[in-house]
Amino acid sequence: MKRSWLWAVLPLTILGILIAVFLRLNPLQVLVGSAPPVESIQIERAVLKSDEPIRLLIRGNGTDPVQIAQVQVDGAYWQFQQDPPGEISRLKSVQIEIPYPWMEGETHHIKVLTATGLTFDYSIDVALPTPDADPARLLHYGGLGIFVGVVPVGLGMLFFPYLKTLGNQGIQFILTLTLGLLAFLLVDSLQEGVKLATEAASVFQGGSLVWLSAATAFLTLLMISRRGGNVPEGMALATYLALGIGLHNLGEGLAIGSAFAVGEAGLGSLLVVGFTLHNLTEGIGIAAPLIRLQPRLWVFVSLAALAGLPAVLGSWLGAFAYSPQWAALFLGIGSGAILQVMVEVGSYVRRLNEPRGSWLTIPGLAGFSLGLGIMYATALLV
């Protein structure tokens, strides 16, 4: 029995030996024949600065290393320098500098050719200088984050005195409305995450990353909120709501920051107005569980900060250090957090509605549908 640890080591040892033998003998050679390896690279990001070369961040995405042979910009072979030079191994990334006189506000198509003549395309839809992370820019993007995150959530909370005048039915209505808005955010975050995952190098398995991080975040938060054996309500529930919405807003900030940075959103402040309206509802939702309490002002301020400030962080990350795999991960975590809050709000409503013990009443369904409807309608603006 003392030697039982051997049985933990032995399988791993045998596995190691098997892998070594497999790699050595390469029995798959029979199946693969002389077919060349499938080359794959992912062009993750283009960085543009006035009067400077186009810089591309390229990551190895295939099983075998890839050698970049030539680079085309807008259908013309162009000089380039690769740093570090040589082949790009799986998951490694290199930077390529192309001294191409790019034109502000126009579209540029880049084609990277490998040593076997395979091509990988990337398009800069609207060429604009990539923002530098200088104080002025940080301030601007921070202001943007505050405007789409903190301000609307705070405004939503101003409904609080009104919410307090509502009776039991009214509270249930508002809470189910919150459920509706959360359901919308959940679907939205997951979809956005899965979409971004397709832009990341496939080796990161971005799609799985979204779902798995959502599940892990959900279970972790649920475990924390239920650790006393009680279902959270009041202050605790409002905090979880703020946290979940905050994580969602981090993803939203990422989207806004990167959209502005790559020029996609450069044409409309409508986008910002839309997000602001959209997020107003979130403030109402966070305040709803507090109706029976007499919270101080600082409670509201902190909740608004918890829910809104991540949008600032998100817009900085999105503008200055954007990469799709990180965005997908954040959106996954945000989705998990939202699901946890939905479960908790759902149980809270159910308890308010004892003895029937369900939130699915007529006012409940009406609130849920209205929540979805408001979010959908305000999302039309963005």
């Binding site: 050698q67 042979a69 030539q70 680079v71 085309q72 259908g75 013309a76 072979y77 162009w78 000089q79 380039f80 192309i98 001294p99 191409y100 006189p101 050719l113 040593a115 076997t116 003549g117 395979l118 091509t119």
Partner: protein, 349 residues
């Protein structure tokens, strides 16, 4: 007899020959020059011509008169051995293309004969697919080199034999199916038929100047230019365009031209996928003989010609009045220029 004459005339193209022995210097000078003019518009790196087994610069003047003998009827017999083989060719710096080749090169050997000669070609297929030699010329159906007619299966050898006519600048290519693939993989070459001066008494001197190895021909600087392209990712669009296969090569190493000797270009378009290609000369005009089948120009004093797939012709020009310098020539489809079909003459006094 003719064979030795043509060897001598090759040496006679001294300016070109001597440049071949010192390509490095020319390429260095031109790199800085082209960078100054064209910004960064170029492919990056150098092609290993030795590994490829052919040099686009050498192909410019690599006429193959064949094994020459006399038949009992007095006709000249020219014999060639051509094989087809699969090989990787570096068609642009660092880009290896799985090509199909005649005699290991793209374009294949430049067959140069005289009008009325008997041409015999032993064609052996060392490739993994069926191939043919289909000549553009006047001949019988049984030597046409199409599927089912003198098509060599892998490992087989077939013999093509016909009389060379009409005189002009022609081509040959594989005509096995699927056609597009067999062509753009590299199975093509040039078939030049020099006019027989005796058959053109009214323009005998002009005809004589076209005959490789003649005294009149020796002062001409003759160049072979095959406009071709490669689709490296097999999406039926070309990634590289060039003259003589290697993109940008004749821009990085301009063709040395002695300005007091006239220039004659045998130009052939074998570009696949794009219906037309073109040739545009900077700062000068030329006379053009479509298909090379006439001794008087079909277009006089032009600086651009447009050729459809398989169209070809002869260009005659002179830099005698020009200052020494770099004179570009390229397709006038900017798309092709920027994808490699960009070249230059370096005119020297």
């Amino acid at each position: 007899m003719k064979f030795s004459l043509s060897r001598r005339s090759l040496l006679g193209l001294g300016g070109l020959g001597s440049l071949l022995s010192r390509p490095a210097m020319a390429s260095e000078q031109t790199m800085t020059h082209s960078l100054r003019i064209h910004g960064g518009l170029t492919s990056v790196g150098e092609v290993d011509h030795a590994r490829n087994g052919f040099d686009p610069y050498a192909l410019l003047t690599d006429w193959d008169p064949g094994q020459v003998s006399q038949l009992s009827n007095g006709q000249t017999l020219r014999e060639y051995d051509i094989d087809a083989a699969d090989r990787l060719v570096e068609i642009a710096p660092g880009v290896m293309y799985p090509a199909w080749t005649y005699n290991g090169r793209i374009p294949g050997p430049t067959i140069r004969v005289t009008e009325g000669d008997r041409v015999r070609i032993r064609f052996s297929n060392r490739s993994t697919h069926a191939h043919t030699l289909h000549f553009h010329g006047i001949h019988q159906a049984r030597v046409d080199g199409v599927p089912g007619t003198l098509e060599a299966m892998p490992g087989q050898e077939v013999v093509y034999e016909f009389e060379a006519k009409p005189f002009g600048c022609h081509l040959y290519h594989c005509h096995s199916a699927p056609f597009k693939r067999h062509l753009h993989k590299g199975l093509y070459g040039v078939f030049v038929v020099d006019p027989n001066p005796k058959r053109h008494p009214e323009q005998e001197a002009v005809a004589r100047s076209r005959v490789l190895g003649s005294r009149e021909n020796a002062r001409w600087q003759e160049l072979l230019m095959v406009m071709n392209a490669f689709d490296t990712n097999f999406d039926e669009e070309n990634e590289f365009y060039a003259v003589n296969t290697i993109a940008h090569e004749l821009m990085k190493r301009p063709i040395r031209i002695q300005r007091d000797r006239p220039v004659r270009i045998y130009l052939v378009n074998v570009t696949e996928f794009d219906p037309i290609n073109s040739f545009h000369l900077h700062a000068n005009f030329f006379d053009y003989f479509d298909h090379g089948t006439t001794l008087t120009p079909t277009h006089k004093t032009v600086d651009t010609v447009m050729l459809c797939q398989a169209q070809r012709g002869i260009l005659e020009l002179s830099f005698a009045e020009h200052e020494p310098g770099l004179y570009m020539f390229h397709a006038h489809q900017s798309e092709f220029v920027e994808l490699g079909w960009m070249s230059a003459f370096e005119v020297v006094a």
